[in-house]
Protein backbone atom coordinates (compact mmCIF):
# COMPACT_ATOMS: atom_id res chain seq x y z
CA UNK A 1 0.00 0.00 0.00
CA UNK A 2 1.26 3.39 -0.88
CA UNK A 3 0.01 5.65 1.85
CA UNK A 4 -1.42 5.07 5.31
CA UNK A 5 -5.19 5.03 5.16
CA UNK A 6 -6.43 3.37 8.37
CA UNK A 7 -10.09 3.92 7.55
CA UNK A 8 -9.74 2.28 4.13
CA UNK A 9 -7.72 -0.56 5.62
CA UNK A 10 -10.41 -1.24 8.17
CA UNK A 11 -13.03 -1.18 5.42
CA UNK A 12 -10.91 -3.65 3.43
CA UNK A 13 -10.83 -6.19 6.22
CA UNK A 14 -14.50 -5.79 7.10
CA UNK A 15 -15.45 -6.18 3.44
CA UNK A 16 -13.28 -9.27 3.04
CA UNK A 17 -14.72 -10.95 6.10
CA UNK A 18 -18.25 -10.11 4.99
CA UNK A 19 -17.50 -11.42 1.49
CA UNK A 20 -16.09 -14.68 2.79
CA UNK A 21 -19.07 -15.09 5.13
CA UNK A 22 -21.59 -14.53 2.33
CA UNK A 23 -19.78 -16.83 -0.09
CA UNK A 24 -19.39 -19.50 2.59
CA UNK A 25 -22.91 -19.31 3.98
CA UNK A 26 -24.65 -21.82 1.66
CA UNK A 27 -22.08 -24.50 2.45
CA UNK A 28 -22.07 -23.67 6.18
CA UNK A 29 -25.85 -23.95 6.22
CA UNK A 30 -25.70 -27.25 4.33
CA UNK A 31 -23.21 -28.66 6.83
CA UNK A 32 -25.43 -27.68 9.76
CA UNK A 33 -28.48 -29.19 8.07
CA UNK A 34 -26.58 -32.41 7.44
CA UNK A 35 -25.97 -32.85 11.18
CA UNK A 36 -29.59 -32.46 12.27
CA UNK A 37 -32.41 -35.00 12.65
CA UNK A 38 -35.61 -34.57 10.60
CA UNK A 39 -37.60 -32.78 13.35
CA UNK A 40 -34.88 -30.16 13.72
CA UNK A 41 -34.21 -29.58 10.04
CA UNK A 42 -37.89 -29.01 9.33
CA UNK A 43 -38.35 -26.66 12.27
CA UNK A 44 -38.94 -23.10 11.12
CA UNK A 45 -36.42 -21.48 11.24
CA UNK A 46 -33.86 -24.24 11.34
CA UNK A 47 -31.50 -24.01 14.35
CA UNK A 48 -27.95 -22.90 13.52
CA UNK A 49 -26.31 -25.17 16.09
CA UNK A 50 -24.98 -28.44 14.68
CA UNK A 51 -26.65 -31.65 15.85
CA UNK A 52 -25.16 -35.10 16.29
CA UNK A 53 -26.75 -36.89 13.35
CA UNK A 54 -24.03 -36.22 10.77
CA UNK A 55 -22.84 -39.79 10.32
CA UNK A 56 -26.33 -41.25 10.40
CA UNK A 57 -27.42 -38.78 7.71
CA UNK A 58 -24.34 -39.39 5.60
CA UNK A 59 -25.00 -43.13 5.78
CA UNK A 60 -28.67 -42.70 4.86
CA UNK A 61 -27.77 -40.47 1.91
CA UNK A 62 -25.09 -42.93 0.82
CA UNK A 63 -27.49 -45.88 0.78
CA UNK A 64 -30.61 -44.15 -0.46
CA UNK A 65 -28.82 -42.47 -3.36
CA UNK A 66 -26.62 -45.48 -4.16
CA UNK A 67 -23.76 -43.02 -3.95
CA UNK A 68 -21.06 -45.70 -3.85
CA UNK A 69 -21.80 -46.77 -7.43
CA UNK A 70 -22.40 -43.23 -8.64
CA UNK A 71 -19.24 -41.81 -7.11
CA UNK A 72 -17.27 -44.57 -8.78
CA UNK A 73 -18.92 -43.63 -12.10
CA UNK A 74 -18.07 -39.97 -11.49
CA UNK A 75 -14.46 -40.89 -10.77
CA UNK A 76 -14.21 -42.98 -13.93
CA UNK A 77 -15.85 -40.27 -16.03
CA UNK A 78 -13.81 -37.37 -14.62
CA UNK A 79 -10.61 -39.42 -14.68
CA UNK A 80 -11.26 -40.63 -18.21
CA UNK A 81 -11.97 -37.15 -19.53
CA UNK A 82 -8.89 -35.76 -17.80
CA UNK A 83 -6.59 -38.51 -19.00
CA UNK A 84 -8.05 -38.66 -22.50
CA UNK A 85 -8.00 -34.92 -23.10
CA UNK A 86 -4.45 -34.46 -21.82
CA UNK A 87 -2.92 -37.40 -23.70
CA UNK A 88 -4.70 -36.64 -26.97
CA UNK A 89 -3.83 -32.95 -26.66
CA UNK A 90 -0.16 -33.57 -25.86
CA UNK A 91 0.19 -35.67 -29.02
CA UNK A 92 -1.83 -33.21 -31.04
CA UNK A 93 0.10 -30.15 -29.95
CA UNK A 94 3.40 -31.98 -30.45
CA UNK A 95 2.39 -32.83 -34.00
CA UNK A 96 1.27 -29.28 -34.77
CA UNK A 97 4.27 -27.48 -33.29
CA UNK A 98 7.22 -29.77 -33.99
CA UNK A 99 6.55 -31.20 -37.43
CA UNK A 100 6.34 -29.70 -40.85
CA UNK A 101 3.88 -31.54 -43.04
CA UNK A 102 1.55 -30.77 -45.85
CA UNK A 103 -1.74 -30.98 -43.98
CA UNK A 104 -0.52 -29.22 -40.87
CA UNK A 105 -2.56 -26.07 -41.46
CA UNK A 106 -5.64 -28.19 -42.11
CA UNK A 107 -5.11 -30.22 -38.95
CA UNK A 108 -4.60 -27.04 -36.97
CA UNK A 109 -7.78 -25.42 -38.28
CA UNK A 110 -9.81 -28.61 -37.82
CA UNK A 111 -8.89 -28.86 -34.17
CA UNK A 112 -9.09 -25.20 -33.22
CA UNK A 113 -12.47 -24.50 -34.74
CA UNK A 114 -13.92 -26.48 -31.85
CA UNK A 115 -12.51 -24.12 -29.26
CA UNK A 116 -15.18 -22.67 -26.97
CA UNK A 117 -18.05 -24.69 -28.44
CA UNK A 118 -19.46 -26.89 -25.69
CA UNK A 119 -21.30 -30.15 -26.27
CA UNK A 120 -24.55 -28.41 -25.28
CA UNK A 121 -24.89 -26.74 -28.69
CA UNK A 122 -25.12 -30.04 -30.56
CA UNK A 123 -26.69 -32.39 -28.04
CA UNK A 124 -29.30 -33.98 -30.28
CA UNK A 125 -27.03 -35.11 -33.13
CA UNK A 126 -24.23 -36.03 -30.72
CA UNK A 127 -26.73 -38.19 -28.88
CA UNK A 128 -27.74 -39.87 -32.14
CA UNK A 129 -24.08 -40.42 -32.90
CA UNK A 130 -23.48 -42.01 -29.53
CA UNK A 131 -26.60 -44.13 -29.84
CA UNK A 132 -25.14 -45.69 -32.96
CA UNK A 133 -21.50 -44.94 -33.59
CA UNK A 134 -21.62 -46.70 -36.96
CA UNK A 135 -24.71 -44.88 -38.19
CA UNK A 136 -22.76 -42.63 -40.57
CA UNK A 137 -21.20 -45.71 -42.17
CA UNK A 138 -24.57 -47.26 -43.05
CA UNK A 139 -25.13 -45.22 -46.26
CA UNK A 140 -21.62 -46.14 -47.34
CA UNK A 141 -22.34 -49.79 -46.63
CA UNK A 142 -25.55 -49.64 -48.65
CA UNK A 143 -23.96 -47.66 -51.48
CA UNK A 144 -21.17 -50.16 -51.90
CA UNK A 145 -23.77 -52.90 -52.30
CA UNK A 146 -22.21 -54.89 -49.50
CA UNK A 147 -25.63 -56.24 -48.52
CA UNK A 148 -25.75 -58.07 -51.83
CA UNK A 149 -22.32 -59.49 -51.19
CA UNK A 150 -23.28 -60.71 -47.74
CA UNK A 151 -26.54 -62.18 -49.07
CA UNK A 152 -24.71 -64.00 -51.81
CA UNK A 153 -22.24 -65.33 -49.29
CA UNK A 154 -24.95 -66.48 -46.88
CA UNK A 155 -27.13 -67.89 -49.59
CA UNK A 156 -30.25 -65.92 -48.59
CA UNK A 157 -31.29 -62.28 -48.28
CA UNK A 158 -29.68 -60.43 -45.41
CA UNK A 159 -29.76 -56.74 -44.68
CA UNK A 160 -26.98 -55.71 -42.38
CA UNK A 161 -27.63 -52.91 -39.90
CA UNK A 162 -24.42 -51.51 -38.51
CA UNK A 163 -24.88 -50.77 -34.87
CA UNK A 164 -22.60 -49.90 -32.00
CA UNK A 165 -24.15 -48.01 -29.13
CA UNK A 166 -22.30 -45.99 -26.53
CA UNK A 167 -25.41 -45.38 -24.41
CA UNK A 168 -24.98 -46.40 -20.78
CA UNK A 169 -21.27 -46.98 -21.23
CA UNK A 170 -18.16 -45.31 -19.86
CA UNK A 171 -16.91 -44.68 -23.39
CA UNK A 172 -20.14 -42.81 -24.07
CA UNK A 173 -19.72 -40.71 -20.96
CA UNK A 174 -16.11 -39.87 -21.75
CA UNK A 175 -15.37 -39.72 -25.48
CA UNK A 176 -17.77 -36.98 -26.70
CA UNK A 177 -16.53 -34.65 -23.97
CA UNK A 178 -12.90 -35.05 -24.98
CA UNK A 179 -13.66 -33.43 -28.34
CA UNK A 180 -12.48 -29.98 -27.37
CA UNK A 181 -9.40 -28.01 -28.24
CA UNK A 182 -8.78 -26.12 -25.00
CA UNK A 183 -5.97 -28.37 -23.76
CA UNK A 184 -4.37 -28.58 -27.21
CA UNK A 185 -4.43 -24.81 -27.38
CA UNK A 186 -2.72 -24.49 -23.99
CA UNK A 187 -0.02 -27.06 -24.82
CA UNK A 188 0.61 -25.41 -28.18
CA UNK A 189 1.07 -22.04 -26.50
CA UNK A 190 3.47 -23.59 -24.03
CA UNK A 191 5.49 -25.53 -26.62
CA UNK A 192 5.98 -22.32 -28.59
CA UNK A 193 7.75 -20.77 -25.59
CA UNK A 194 10.26 -23.64 -25.34
CA UNK A 195 13.59 -22.58 -26.93
CA UNK A 196 14.30 -24.14 -30.30
CA UNK A 197 17.86 -24.98 -29.27
CA UNK A 198 16.51 -27.75 -27.08
CA UNK A 199 15.06 -29.51 -30.07
CA UNK A 200 18.20 -28.83 -32.14
CA UNK A 201 20.41 -30.32 -29.42
CA UNK A 202 18.20 -33.38 -29.09
CA UNK A 203 18.33 -33.91 -32.84
CA UNK A 204 22.12 -33.57 -32.86
CA UNK A 205 22.35 -36.18 -30.16
CA UNK A 206 20.42 -38.46 -32.45
CA UNK A 207 17.20 -38.49 -30.45
CA UNK A 208 14.14 -39.66 -32.32
CA UNK A 209 11.04 -37.46 -32.20
CA UNK A 210 9.36 -39.72 -29.65
CA UNK A 211 12.46 -39.76 -27.45
CA UNK A 212 12.45 -35.97 -27.51
CA UNK A 213 8.75 -36.04 -26.67
CA UNK A 214 8.98 -38.40 -23.69
CA UNK A 215 12.37 -37.34 -22.32
CA UNK A 216 12.19 -33.57 -22.77
CA UNK A 217 8.78 -32.22 -23.74
CA UNK A 218 6.61 -34.14 -21.28
CA UNK A 219 8.86 -33.48 -18.24
CA UNK A 220 8.96 -29.78 -19.16
CA UNK A 221 5.16 -29.71 -19.35
CA UNK A 222 4.72 -31.11 -15.85
CA UNK A 223 3.27 -27.95 -14.29
CA UNK A 224 0.90 -27.42 -17.21
CA UNK A 225 -0.23 -31.01 -16.98
CA UNK A 226 -0.83 -30.65 -13.24
CA UNK A 227 -2.90 -27.52 -13.82
CA UNK A 228 -4.99 -29.19 -16.51
CA UNK A 229 -5.52 -32.26 -14.34
CA UNK A 230 -7.27 -30.06 -11.77
CA UNK A 231 -9.33 -28.09 -14.29
CA UNK A 232 -10.42 -31.09 -16.34
CA UNK A 233 -11.17 -33.23 -13.31
CA UNK A 234 -13.52 -30.56 -11.94
CA UNK A 235 -15.02 -30.13 -15.42
CA UNK A 236 -15.61 -33.86 -15.82
CA UNK A 237 -16.96 -34.38 -12.32
CA UNK A 238 -19.47 -31.54 -12.64
CA UNK A 239 -20.90 -32.47 -16.05
CA UNK A 240 -24.67 -32.56 -16.06
CA UNK A 241 -26.46 -32.48 -19.42
CA UNK A 242 -24.41 -35.14 -21.17
CA UNK A 243 -24.55 -37.84 -18.47
CA UNK A 244 -28.25 -37.04 -18.04
CA UNK A 245 -28.88 -37.90 -21.69
CA UNK A 246 -26.55 -40.79 -22.24
CA UNK A 247 -27.35 -42.83 -19.13
CA UNK A 248 -30.75 -44.34 -18.43
CA UNK A 249 -29.52 -47.17 -16.18
CA UNK A 250 -29.28 -45.85 -12.59
CA UNK A 251 -26.16 -48.00 -12.18
CA UNK A 252 -24.39 -45.97 -14.85
CA UNK A 253 -25.34 -42.47 -13.78
CA UNK A 254 -23.01 -40.01 -12.07
CA UNK A 255 -23.24 -38.64 -8.55
CA UNK A 256 -24.14 -35.08 -9.58
CA UNK A 257 -27.16 -36.38 -11.52
CA UNK A 258 -28.11 -38.93 -8.88
CA UNK A 259 -28.27 -36.25 -6.21
CA UNK A 260 -31.48 -34.93 -7.73
CA UNK A 261 -33.27 -38.05 -6.49
CA UNK A 262 -32.41 -37.15 -2.91
CA UNK A 263 -34.28 -33.85 -3.23
CA UNK A 264 -37.56 -34.09 -1.31
CA UNK A 265 -40.60 -33.65 -3.55
CA UNK A 266 -43.79 -32.10 -2.15
CA UNK A 267 -45.32 -35.52 -1.35
CA UNK A 268 -42.28 -36.81 0.56
CA UNK A 269 -41.25 -35.95 4.10
CA UNK A 270 -38.94 -32.91 3.92
CA UNK A 271 -35.68 -34.87 4.12
CA UNK A 272 -33.45 -31.89 3.53
CA UNK A 273 -30.89 -33.17 6.01
CA UNK A 274 -30.38 -36.23 3.78
CA UNK A 275 -30.20 -34.13 0.60
CA UNK A 276 -27.61 -31.83 2.18
CA UNK A 277 -25.57 -34.78 3.51
CA UNK A 278 -25.58 -36.22 -0.02
CA UNK A 279 -24.56 -32.87 -1.51
CA UNK A 280 -21.60 -32.67 0.90
CA UNK A 281 -20.40 -36.12 -0.15
CA UNK A 282 -20.63 -35.28 -3.85
CA UNK A 283 -18.88 -31.89 -3.67
CA UNK A 284 -16.03 -33.17 -1.52
CA UNK A 285 -13.73 -34.75 -4.17
CA UNK A 286 -13.55 -31.75 -6.55
CA UNK A 287 -13.36 -29.23 -3.70
CA UNK A 288 -10.46 -31.15 -2.16
CA UNK A 289 -8.69 -31.36 -5.50
CA UNK A 290 -9.02 -27.60 -6.01
CA UNK A 291 -7.93 -26.68 -2.49
CA UNK A 292 -4.94 -29.03 -2.41
CA UNK A 293 -3.76 -28.21 -5.93
CA UNK A 294 -4.66 -24.52 -5.72
CA UNK A 295 -1.34 -23.22 -7.00
CA UNK A 296 -1.45 -25.23 -10.23
CA UNK A 297 -5.13 -24.69 -10.65
CA UNK A 298 -4.79 -20.90 -10.61
CA UNK A 299 -1.80 -21.05 -12.91
CA UNK A 300 -3.70 -23.21 -15.34
CA UNK A 301 -6.80 -21.05 -15.30
CA UNK A 302 -4.97 -17.80 -15.80
CA UNK A 303 -2.71 -19.24 -18.48
CA UNK A 304 -5.71 -20.43 -20.40
CA UNK A 305 -6.58 -16.83 -21.00
CA UNK A 306 -3.25 -15.94 -22.58
Amino acid sequence: MVEKTPALDLFTYVALIAGIAVVGFPIFYAIIAATLPLEEVSRVPMPLIPGDQLFANLATAWNRGDLGTQLLNSFIMAGGITFGKIVVSLFGAFSIVYFDYRLRAVAFATVFCTLMLPVEVRILPTYEMAANLFGPLQPLWDALGLNGLVSWFAGHDISVKLEFSLLDSYAGLILPLTASATCTFLFRQFFLTIPEELCEAAKMDGASPMTFFWKILVPLSKTNIAALVVIEFVYGWNQYLWPLLITTDPKMTTAVIGLKHLLPSPEDPPDWHIAMAGALIVVLPPVLVVLVMQRWFVKGLVEREK
Binding site: D9, Y29, M116, E120, V121, R122, Q294, V302
Partner: protein, 296 residues
Protein backbone atom coordinates in the same frame (compact mmCIF):
# COMPACT_ATOMS: atom_id res chain seq x y z
CA UNK B 1 4.18 -18.95 -35.89
CA UNK B 2 7.84 -18.97 -35.03
CA UNK B 3 10.38 -20.93 -37.08
CA UNK B 4 10.86 -24.30 -35.45
CA UNK B 5 13.53 -26.91 -35.80
CA UNK B 6 11.23 -29.47 -37.34
CA UNK B 7 11.52 -33.19 -37.28
CA UNK B 8 11.56 -34.65 -40.74
CA UNK B 9 9.61 -37.84 -40.11
CA UNK B 10 6.94 -38.36 -42.78
CA UNK B 11 4.08 -40.33 -41.25
CA UNK B 12 4.60 -39.79 -37.52
CA UNK B 13 2.92 -36.35 -37.30
CA UNK B 14 -0.22 -37.73 -38.93
CA UNK B 15 -0.27 -40.61 -36.50
CA UNK B 16 0.13 -38.21 -33.58
CA UNK B 17 -2.71 -35.92 -34.60
CA UNK B 18 -4.97 -38.81 -35.66
CA UNK B 19 -6.69 -39.46 -32.29
CA UNK B 20 -7.57 -35.80 -31.90
CA UNK B 21 -8.90 -35.52 -35.46
CA UNK B 22 -10.89 -38.76 -35.13
CA UNK B 23 -12.56 -37.65 -31.91
CA UNK B 24 -13.21 -34.16 -33.23
CA UNK B 25 -14.71 -35.37 -36.49
CA UNK B 26 -16.81 -38.09 -34.85
CA UNK B 27 -18.17 -36.09 -31.95
CA UNK B 28 -17.98 -32.56 -33.24
CA UNK B 29 -18.07 -32.06 -37.00
CA UNK B 30 -20.33 -34.93 -37.94
CA UNK B 31 -22.96 -34.10 -35.28
CA UNK B 32 -22.72 -30.40 -36.11
CA UNK B 33 -23.31 -31.20 -39.79
CA UNK B 34 -26.21 -33.50 -38.91
CA UNK B 35 -27.68 -30.77 -36.76
CA UNK B 36 -27.39 -28.28 -39.60
CA UNK B 37 -29.14 -30.68 -41.99
CA UNK B 38 -31.84 -31.52 -39.44
CA UNK B 39 -32.51 -27.84 -38.91
CA UNK B 40 -33.73 -27.64 -42.53
CA UNK B 41 -35.95 -30.68 -42.18
CA UNK B 42 -39.35 -31.40 -40.75
CA UNK B 43 -39.87 -34.86 -39.34
CA UNK B 44 -42.65 -36.58 -37.47
CA UNK B 45 -41.95 -37.38 -33.81
CA UNK B 46 -40.96 -40.97 -34.58
CA UNK B 47 -38.40 -39.97 -37.18
CA UNK B 48 -40.15 -42.07 -39.82
CA UNK B 49 -40.67 -39.39 -42.44
CA UNK B 50 -38.53 -36.33 -43.04
CA UNK B 51 -39.13 -33.52 -45.46
CA UNK B 52 -36.81 -30.77 -46.57
CA UNK B 53 -38.38 -27.44 -45.66
CA UNK B 54 -35.60 -24.88 -46.17
CA UNK B 55 -35.77 -22.16 -43.54
CA UNK B 56 -39.25 -23.00 -42.21
CA UNK B 57 -37.91 -24.13 -38.85
CA UNK B 58 -36.02 -20.88 -38.41
CA UNK B 59 -38.97 -18.78 -39.49
CA UNK B 60 -41.21 -20.70 -37.11
CA UNK B 61 -38.66 -20.18 -34.37
CA UNK B 62 -38.37 -16.43 -34.71
CA UNK B 63 -42.10 -15.95 -34.97
CA UNK B 64 -42.79 -18.13 -31.95
CA UNK B 65 -43.56 -15.92 -28.94
CA UNK B 66 -42.28 -18.67 -26.61
CA UNK B 67 -38.89 -18.64 -28.30
CA UNK B 68 -38.68 -14.87 -28.27
CA UNK B 69 -39.57 -14.97 -24.59
CA UNK B 70 -36.83 -17.56 -24.03
CA UNK B 71 -34.32 -15.21 -25.70
CA UNK B 72 -35.36 -12.38 -23.40
CA UNK B 73 -35.19 -14.71 -20.39
CA UNK B 74 -31.69 -15.78 -21.39
CA UNK B 75 -30.52 -12.20 -21.86
CA UNK B 76 -31.97 -11.14 -18.52
CA UNK B 77 -30.47 -14.16 -16.80
CA UNK B 78 -26.99 -13.90 -18.36
CA UNK B 79 -26.87 -10.15 -17.92
CA UNK B 80 -27.79 -10.37 -14.24
CA UNK B 81 -25.37 -13.21 -13.56
CA UNK B 82 -22.56 -11.32 -15.31
CA UNK B 83 -23.34 -8.10 -13.47
CA UNK B 84 -23.55 -9.67 -10.00
CA UNK B 85 -20.64 -12.08 -10.27
CA UNK B 86 -18.32 -9.59 -11.97
CA UNK B 87 -19.04 -6.74 -9.54
CA UNK B 88 -18.68 -8.95 -6.47
CA UNK B 89 -15.66 -10.78 -7.90
CA UNK B 90 -13.87 -7.54 -8.77
CA UNK B 91 -14.72 -5.95 -5.43
CA UNK B 92 -13.44 -8.94 -3.43
CA UNK B 93 -10.31 -9.20 -5.60
CA UNK B 94 -9.54 -5.51 -5.06
CA UNK B 95 -9.96 -5.96 -1.33
CA UNK B 96 -7.82 -9.11 -1.29
CA UNK B 97 -5.17 -7.32 -3.30
CA UNK B 98 -5.11 -4.48 -0.75
CA UNK B 99 -4.81 -6.84 2.21
CA UNK B 100 -1.46 -8.03 0.87
CA UNK B 101 -0.53 -10.32 3.71
CA UNK B 102 -3.86 -12.10 3.58
CA UNK B 103 -4.10 -12.55 -0.18
CA UNK B 104 -3.29 -16.27 -0.13
CA UNK B 105 -5.66 -16.93 2.76
CA UNK B 106 -8.58 -15.07 1.20
CA UNK B 107 -7.97 -16.84 -2.08
CA UNK B 108 -8.22 -20.22 -0.37
CA UNK B 109 -11.42 -19.17 1.38
CA UNK B 110 -13.04 -17.84 -1.79
CA UNK B 111 -11.87 -20.25 -4.47
CA UNK B 112 -13.74 -23.43 -3.57
CA UNK B 113 -17.23 -22.67 -4.96
CA UNK B 114 -15.59 -23.06 -8.37
CA UNK B 115 -15.35 -26.78 -7.66
CA UNK B 116 -19.06 -27.16 -6.92
CA UNK B 117 -21.25 -28.40 -9.76
CA UNK B 118 -23.87 -25.90 -10.97
CA UNK B 119 -26.56 -28.47 -10.24
CA UNK B 120 -25.44 -28.71 -6.60
CA UNK B 121 -25.16 -24.95 -6.31
CA UNK B 122 -28.81 -24.92 -7.41
CA UNK B 123 -29.76 -27.45 -4.72
CA UNK B 124 -27.97 -25.45 -1.98
CA UNK B 125 -29.74 -22.24 -2.95
CA UNK B 126 -33.09 -23.97 -3.31
CA UNK B 127 -32.66 -25.08 0.29
CA UNK B 128 -31.86 -21.51 1.41
CA UNK B 129 -34.74 -20.03 -0.58
CA UNK B 130 -37.35 -22.78 -0.28
CA UNK B 131 -40.72 -21.15 0.52
CA UNK B 132 -41.45 -23.36 3.55
CA UNK B 133 -38.01 -24.41 4.84
CA UNK B 134 -35.52 -21.88 3.49
CA UNK B 135 -33.97 -19.61 6.08
CA UNK B 136 -33.83 -16.61 3.73
CA UNK B 137 -37.45 -17.08 2.67
CA UNK B 138 -38.54 -17.19 6.30
CA UNK B 139 -36.73 -13.96 7.18
CA UNK B 140 -38.04 -12.22 4.10
CA UNK B 141 -41.53 -13.09 5.27
CA UNK B 142 -40.89 -12.18 8.90
CA UNK B 143 -39.09 -8.88 8.39
CA UNK B 144 -40.53 -7.56 5.14
CA UNK B 145 -43.85 -9.39 5.00
CA UNK B 146 -42.87 -10.65 1.56
CA UNK B 147 -44.67 -13.77 0.41
CA UNK B 148 -41.56 -15.28 -1.12
CA UNK B 149 -42.27 -18.29 -3.31
CA UNK B 150 -39.84 -19.15 -6.12
CA UNK B 151 -41.84 -22.32 -6.85
CA UNK B 152 -44.88 -20.34 -7.94
CA UNK B 153 -43.66 -16.84 -8.72
CA UNK B 154 -41.66 -16.39 -11.91
CA UNK B 155 -39.60 -13.38 -10.85
CA UNK B 156 -38.68 -15.08 -7.56
CA UNK B 157 -37.55 -18.18 -9.46
CA UNK B 158 -35.42 -16.03 -11.75
CA UNK B 159 -33.81 -14.31 -8.77
CA UNK B 160 -33.09 -17.71 -7.23
CA UNK B 161 -31.26 -19.09 -10.28
CA UNK B 162 -29.39 -15.81 -10.73
CA UNK B 163 -28.14 -16.07 -7.14
CA UNK B 164 -27.19 -19.75 -7.47
CA UNK B 165 -25.39 -19.10 -10.74
CA UNK B 166 -23.61 -15.92 -9.63
CA UNK B 167 -22.48 -17.54 -6.40
CA UNK B 168 -20.73 -20.28 -8.34
CA UNK B 169 -19.13 -17.77 -10.69
CA UNK B 170 -17.78 -15.31 -8.15
CA UNK B 171 -14.76 -17.48 -7.33
CA UNK B 172 -13.81 -17.93 -10.99
CA UNK B 173 -14.01 -14.20 -11.67
CA UNK B 174 -12.20 -13.46 -8.41
CA UNK B 175 -9.22 -15.60 -9.48
CA UNK B 176 -8.88 -13.75 -12.78
CA UNK B 177 -9.29 -10.30 -11.31
CA UNK B 178 -6.77 -11.05 -8.58
CA UNK B 179 -4.24 -12.24 -11.16
CA UNK B 180 -4.95 -9.14 -13.24
CA UNK B 181 -4.54 -6.83 -10.27
CA UNK B 182 -1.28 -8.42 -9.26
CA UNK B 183 0.06 -7.83 -12.75
CA UNK B 184 -0.49 -4.06 -12.52
CA UNK B 185 3.00 -2.52 -12.20
CA UNK B 186 3.51 -1.17 -8.72
CA UNK B 187 5.66 1.69 -10.01
CA UNK B 188 2.64 3.14 -11.82
CA UNK B 189 0.58 3.16 -8.64
CA UNK B 190 3.44 4.74 -6.69
CA UNK B 191 4.01 7.42 -9.30
CA UNK B 192 0.32 8.31 -9.26
CA UNK B 193 0.31 8.39 -5.45
CA UNK B 194 3.26 10.77 -5.51
CA UNK B 195 1.33 13.00 -7.87
CA UNK B 196 -1.37 13.13 -5.23
CA UNK B 197 -3.94 10.68 -6.61
CA UNK B 198 -5.95 9.00 -3.84
CA UNK B 199 -6.76 5.27 -3.73
CA UNK B 200 -10.10 5.64 -5.54
CA UNK B 201 -8.76 7.87 -8.26
CA UNK B 202 -5.82 5.49 -8.77
CA UNK B 203 -8.24 2.60 -9.12
CA UNK B 204 -10.40 4.29 -11.75
CA UNK B 205 -7.65 5.93 -13.79
CA UNK B 206 -4.89 3.29 -13.67
CA UNK B 207 -5.97 -0.09 -12.38
CA UNK B 208 -9.37 -0.28 -14.03
CA UNK B 209 -8.19 0.51 -17.60
CA UNK B 210 -5.29 -1.93 -17.25
CA UNK B 211 -7.78 -4.52 -16.10
CA UNK B 212 -10.04 -4.11 -19.12
CA UNK B 213 -8.73 -7.12 -21.09
CA UNK B 214 -9.32 -9.33 -18.04
CA UNK B 215 -12.72 -7.70 -17.67
CA UNK B 216 -13.61 -8.51 -21.25
CA UNK B 217 -12.44 -12.11 -20.98
CA UNK B 218 -14.27 -12.66 -17.70
CA UNK B 219 -17.47 -11.19 -19.16
CA UNK B 220 -17.32 -13.53 -22.16
CA UNK B 221 -16.65 -16.57 -19.98
CA UNK B 222 -19.42 -15.69 -17.54
CA UNK B 223 -21.91 -15.27 -20.38
CA UNK B 224 -20.91 -18.58 -21.94
CA UNK B 225 -21.18 -20.23 -18.52
CA UNK B 226 -24.64 -18.83 -17.95
CA UNK B 227 -25.71 -19.88 -21.45
CA UNK B 228 -24.70 -23.51 -21.07
CA UNK B 229 -23.50 -24.73 -17.72
CA UNK B 230 -26.45 -23.29 -15.85
CA UNK B 231 -28.47 -26.09 -17.47
CA UNK B 232 -27.76 -28.12 -14.32
CA UNK B 233 -29.19 -25.39 -12.08
CA UNK B 234 -32.36 -25.05 -14.15
CA UNK B 235 -32.89 -28.79 -14.41
CA UNK B 236 -32.54 -29.50 -10.68
CA UNK B 237 -34.30 -26.41 -9.38
CA UNK B 238 -36.99 -24.92 -11.64
CA UNK B 239 -37.28 -27.09 -14.79
CA UNK B 240 -37.76 -23.90 -16.76
CA UNK B 241 -40.78 -22.87 -14.71
CA UNK B 242 -42.89 -21.52 -13.23
CA UNK B 243 -44.75 -20.71 -16.43
CA UNK B 244 -41.56 -20.65 -18.52
CA UNK B 245 -40.07 -17.86 -16.42
CA UNK B 246 -36.66 -19.57 -16.27
CA UNK B 247 -36.78 -21.38 -19.61
CA UNK B 248 -33.42 -20.25 -20.98
CA UNK B 249 -32.31 -21.18 -24.52
CA UNK B 250 -30.22 -24.25 -23.67
CA UNK B 251 -33.02 -25.67 -21.54
CA UNK B 252 -35.49 -25.10 -24.37
CA UNK B 253 -33.25 -26.99 -26.81
CA UNK B 254 -33.37 -29.94 -24.42
CA UNK B 255 -37.10 -29.60 -23.73
CA UNK B 256 -38.12 -29.36 -27.37
CA UNK B 257 -35.65 -31.99 -28.57
CA UNK B 258 -35.68 -34.69 -25.92
CA UNK B 259 -38.99 -34.17 -24.19
CA UNK B 260 -41.12 -32.74 -27.00
CA UNK B 261 -39.31 -34.66 -29.78
CA UNK B 262 -39.55 -31.69 -32.11
CA UNK B 263 -36.29 -32.49 -33.87
CA UNK B 264 -36.30 -29.80 -36.54
CA UNK B 265 -36.99 -26.96 -34.14
CA UNK B 266 -34.50 -28.22 -31.57
CA UNK B 267 -31.80 -28.49 -34.24
CA UNK B 268 -32.51 -25.00 -35.52
CA UNK B 269 -32.22 -23.73 -31.93
CA UNK B 270 -28.86 -25.48 -31.56
CA UNK B 271 -27.60 -23.84 -34.74
CA UNK B 272 -28.72 -20.41 -33.51
CA UNK B 273 -26.86 -21.00 -30.21
CA UNK B 274 -23.77 -22.18 -32.05
CA UNK B 275 -23.78 -19.11 -34.28
CA UNK B 276 -24.10 -16.92 -31.21
CA UNK B 277 -21.09 -18.51 -29.50
CA UNK B 278 -18.99 -18.33 -32.67
CA UNK B 279 -19.80 -14.62 -32.87
CA UNK B 280 -18.76 -14.06 -29.24
CA UNK B 281 -15.56 -16.07 -29.75
CA UNK B 282 -14.57 -14.18 -32.88
CA UNK B 283 -15.13 -10.91 -31.06
CA UNK B 284 -12.98 -12.11 -28.22
CA UNK B 285 -10.13 -13.18 -30.49
CA UNK B 286 -10.18 -9.83 -32.23
CA UNK B 287 -9.97 -8.17 -28.84
CA UNK B 288 -7.22 -10.46 -27.56
CA UNK B 289 -5.14 -9.62 -30.64
CA UNK B 290 -5.39 -5.94 -29.79
CA UNK B 291 -4.51 -6.62 -26.20
CA UNK B 292 -1.31 -8.40 -27.27
CA UNK B 293 -0.28 -5.23 -29.07
CA UNK B 294 -0.52 -2.83 -26.22
CA UNK B 295 0.93 -5.00 -23.49
CA UNK B 296 3.83 -5.92 -25.75
Amino acid sequence: MKKRSYFKTRSLPYLLILPQILITVTFFYWPALQGLVASFQLSDPFGLRTRFVWFDNYVALFTDPLYLKSIMTTLLFSGSVALVSICVGLFLATMANRALRLTAVTRTLLIWPYAIAPAISGILWLFLLHPSYGVIAIFLEKWFGLAWNPLLEGSHAMLMIVLASSWKNISYNFVFFLAGLQAVPHSLIEAAAMDGAGPFRRFWTITFPLLSPTMFFVTVMTIIFSFFESFGIIHTVTQGGPGGATNILVYKVYQDGFVGLNLGSSSAQSIVLMALIILITVLQFKYVERKVQYTG
